[in-house]
């Protein structure tokens, strides 16, 4: 599908994608098809008649939407910039990225939103940057940030990510205030009383490695409390207030069970999981390099390992959990209790990672490996392609409510602005420092060969990423 006339940043004047596997989550349809894009818009979708031969290995889907990324600008430009982060997003097939406001200074004033948006525009990337504002002033958890002004400046929602809202009264006020604006509160569920000093998930790996454990109950407790606060806000809210609570990076099976219950009750609650919590597990901290679904009944239990233990790139918050938790997250995607897959892309400088495990800054650089981890789960039979795409495209849009500035199509129909990713399921790529567009090379997948090479990403009708091999 070489198209030499395509150049990054340019509008797609003519692109004919023939004999691809088209996934259209908006219309809940997938199958062999052809797609014609002209002047930045889809002009023809040609679903092949049934009974055609082997499924094509090139998949075309709507551009992915990441609800959770740290692009570090301002203040952490050595780790990532808005420009490098958006380039990483495009390489990963993402055409919209929500930016966490835990920068330095944090985005707690409308000027910060404006600055972020202008930096994104200046980057030249057609990938949409959607900044969140903070929930509290300075992310300190005391006073509410000026939410209405942040929303007016373009905030897509509110989060104090990395710093959970410990004070239930503040969470209550935030849900009410954001609810009046039609925006979501994106909460990082963690009971910090239980995680002080923690280095890894409390479990077998931490026991053997002598690492201080973060008990799964710390997440369960925080999720339970947030749901209780949400229930109260919903009960007392005036009709004009539509509170929305989104729990990000849920990682514990019992916490997801609480989410499932609250959704069944009808509460306005959504949640996301990260690709690393779906595919990896706490054995990775000890050097185990099997994926969660391959562990079966023989968890990592020390001794000779396939990689050196204590790789700081496996230190992340929430910590990599048990294989059973990862499988529960995968099941949650299929049964709909998980709404979205979000990367929690957290790039760090190597000097902030090249320290003893417990001192390493937590986080995994994840925008560029998300698709590959999901394909591994799909190939292993633990996830369907349709579910994965739905959670990368449709789910995130539902989460944000009025925070979505304009409608970008999550379906393929003649006339819609082209916003898509084309990737080859059958072709691998090597996760090397050179291959990554992010400045953050902090991923335990570095050095591996992964399935799913992204060939082309088109955002808002323009080329966002083009595989160098296709130039």
């Amino acid at each position: 599908m070489a198209r030499p006339e395509l150049a990054v940043g340019d509008r797609v004047e003519r692109l004919e994608l023939e004999d691809v596997w088209l996934v259209d989550p908006g219309n809940r349809r997938e199958g062999p098809a052809g797609l014609l894009v002209e002047h930045g818009r889809v002009v023809d979708v040609d679903w092949a008649r049934r009974g055609s031969r082997k499924a094509p290995s090139v998949v075309v889907a709507p551009g992915f939407f990441d609800l959770h990324a740290h692009l570090r600008e301002p203040g952490g430009e050595d780790a990532e910039t808005i420009a490098s982060g958006l380039a990483a997003a495009a390489h990963g097939g993402f055409t919209s990225v929500c930016l966490m406001p835990n920068t330095s200074p944090p985005i707690d004033r409308p000027e910060g939103i404006a600055r972020t948006l202008s930096a994104a525009a200046a980057s030249g990337s057609p990938v949409r940057a959607l900044p969140y504002g903070t929930i509290s002033v300075g992310r300190e958890g005391h006073a509410l940030a000026p939410m209405a002004a942040l929303a007016a400046a373009g905030a897509g929602g509110f989060s104090d990510d990395g710093a959970p809202v410990d004070d239930p009264e503040l969470l209550r006020a935030a849900l009410t205030e954001a609810g009046a604006l039609g925006l979501a509160i994106v909460e990082h569920p963690e009971d910090r009383l239980q995680t002080a000093g923690a280095e890894a998930n409390e479990g077998l790996a931490a026991t053997i490695l002598g690492l201080a454990g973060a008990p799964p109950a710390a997440e369960v407790a925080a999720v339970g409390r947030a749901i209780a606060v949400l229930r109260q806000v919903v009960a007392e809210a005036p009709a004009a207030v539509r509170p929305r609570l989104h729990l990000t990076h849920v990682s514990v099976a019992d916490a997801l069970a609480l989410v499932r219950g609250a959704k069944a009750e009808g509460l306005p609650l959504t949640c996301d999981v990260t690709p690393h919590h779906l595919a990896l597990h706490d054995g990775w901290v000890g050097g185990d390099r099997r994926f969660a679904w391959d562990v079966g009944s023989s968890p990592w239990s020390g001794g000779p390992t396939t990689a050196p233990p204590y790789d700081p790139s496996t230190r992340v918050t929430p910590p990599l959990r048990s294989p059973a938790d990862a499988l529960a997250m995968l099941a949650g995607l299929e049964d709909g209790s998980v709404d979205a897959i979000a990367t929690d892309h957290a790039p760090h400088r190597s000097i902030d990672k090249d320290v003893p495990f417990g001192e390493a800054l937590p986080g995994i650089s994840g925008l560029e490996t998300a698709l590959s981890l999901l394909l591994l789960a799909i190939d292993a039979g633990h996830l369907s392609l349709a579910t994965a795409v739905r959670a990368l495209v449709v789910g995130p849009r539902r989460v944000l409510g009025r925070g979505l500035p304009e409608r970008r199509a999550s379906s393929f129909e003649a006339g819609v602005v082209a916003d898509l990713v084309a990737f080859d399921r059958g072709e691998g790529w090597s996760v090397t420092a050179d291959a990554l567009r992010s400045k953050g090379r902090n991923t335990p997948l570095l050095g591996r060969e992964l399935p799913g090479r992204v060939l082309l990403t088109v955002a808002d009708g323009r080329v966002a990423y083009l595989d160098p091999g296709l130039d």
Binding site: E199, E202, G203, L204, A206, T207, I208, L209, G210, L211, A212, G213, P299, S301, G302, G303, P304, P308, P309, Y310, I351, D352, K353, D354, V355, P356, F357, G358, E359, A360
Partner: protein
């Protein structure tokens, strides 16, 4: 190959797995026998005044980010008696801040001629990190709660001295105390179960957290039993090892004070009656007499604490000579 190791011949027959000693989790019984034989040879050579200058011209740097006297001095004596040039670096743990400086420190020490780095660090995994930055041999002298390989090896050598040959296999050994925060306990789990010891861990439930799952995950040929009942752990034991307890860690662990701990888990002469008549008592030191161990026990005929200290030097000589004699696979 050093003269002493060459003399035993065992080191030639059993591959040493690594150029470092970071952990003991992957050492087999036959590899442990290599260390024991080499330690025996070193102890004999010390007694006869015929210690080989195996490390002559080699730099051994002892870098401790945590207070310690006995381990540091033991390594220093071991390295000096093998003819090494020893450099002692003490770092206040409060000055350990950025990895940049830790990695830089290691590179600097290497440039200054360190062939062997003996590292003590308050963080689990620090020795693993050091091995990524240091071109020579890294010996883990204790990292966080994780591992204390030479302590476990000297404990093993001490036990072997009273339970020679096959008598160690199947013998019951009990470790008593704050297992959760103990690198000594973790390393002893690997070495003693590898040698076929019937190992029991006991202490307040809050300080045994997670170890039941570890016991279940071990291969079936390794015997590890967890109990909060001291009497069960001591019954017919051939050896008992008391761990040092720290007051702040007893809070919330079912033994709110040192006195309460001593009443439940302190090793006394009366309690040792449950053991075999020839039971021996070990302690990695420093001792809290009257807390985890009664002064009469510590100073009594069953105590092997002094043997542990003396054996420690020979074991560390053995480790230094094995690592420097065999560069192995990186």
């Amino acid at each position: 190959m050093t003269p002493a190791a060459g003399a035993t011949g065992l080191a030639d027959r059993v591959a040493w797995p690594n150029r470092h000693l970071l952990d003991v989790d992957d050492l087999s019984a036959s590899q442990l026998e290599v260390v024991l034989e080499q330690a025996g040879a070193m102890a004999a050579a010390r007694g006869a005044g015929t210690v080989p200058a195996a490390l002559k011209g080699r730099g051994v740097t002892i870098l401790f980010h945590e207070a310690s006297t006995r381990t540091r001095v033991s390594f220093e004596i071991a390295a000096r008696s093998l003819g090494a040039d020893v450099v002692n670096v003490a770092v206040a743990s409060s000055s350990v801040t950025k990895g940049e400086s830790f990695a830089d420190t290691l590179r600097t020490l290497e440039a200054l001629g360190a062939h062997v780095l003996v590292l003590r660090h308050p963080r689990s995994g620090a020795a693993e990190l050091a091995a990524r930055h240091f071109g020579g041999h890294v010996i883990n002298a204790g990292d966080g709660w994780h591992a204390h390989p030479t302590q476990a090896l000297l404990d093993l050598a001490t036990l072997r001295s009273v339970l020679p040959g096959e008598r160690l296999r199947g013998a019951k050994v009990a470790i008593v105390g704050d297992v959760l925060h103990s690198r000594v306990a973790r390393s002893n789990i690997w070495t003693l179960t590898a040698m076929g010891v019937d190992l029991w861990l006991t202490g307040p439930a809050g300080l045994l957290r997670g170890f039941e799952a570890w016991a279940r995950a071990l291969p079936s040929d390794r015997r590890l039993t967890i109990t909060t009942e001291l009497d069960l752990a001591l019954r017919d034991a051939s050896a008992v090892m008391a761990l040092r307890v720290q007051r702040e860690r007893l809070q919330g662990a079912g033994a709110p004070s040192e006195a309460a701990y001593a009443a439940r888990y302190g090793l006394t002469e009366a309690r040792l009656e449950a053991c075999r008549p020839d039971v021996v008592v070990l302690h990695p030191g420093p001792l809290n007499e009257g807390v985890e161990i009664d002064p009469a026990v510590a100073a009594g005929p069953r105590s092997l604490v002094a043997t542990q200290v003396a054996t420690g030097v020979a074991v560390r000589m053995a480790v230094l000579s094995i690592l420097c004699g065999c560069h192995g696979q990186a």
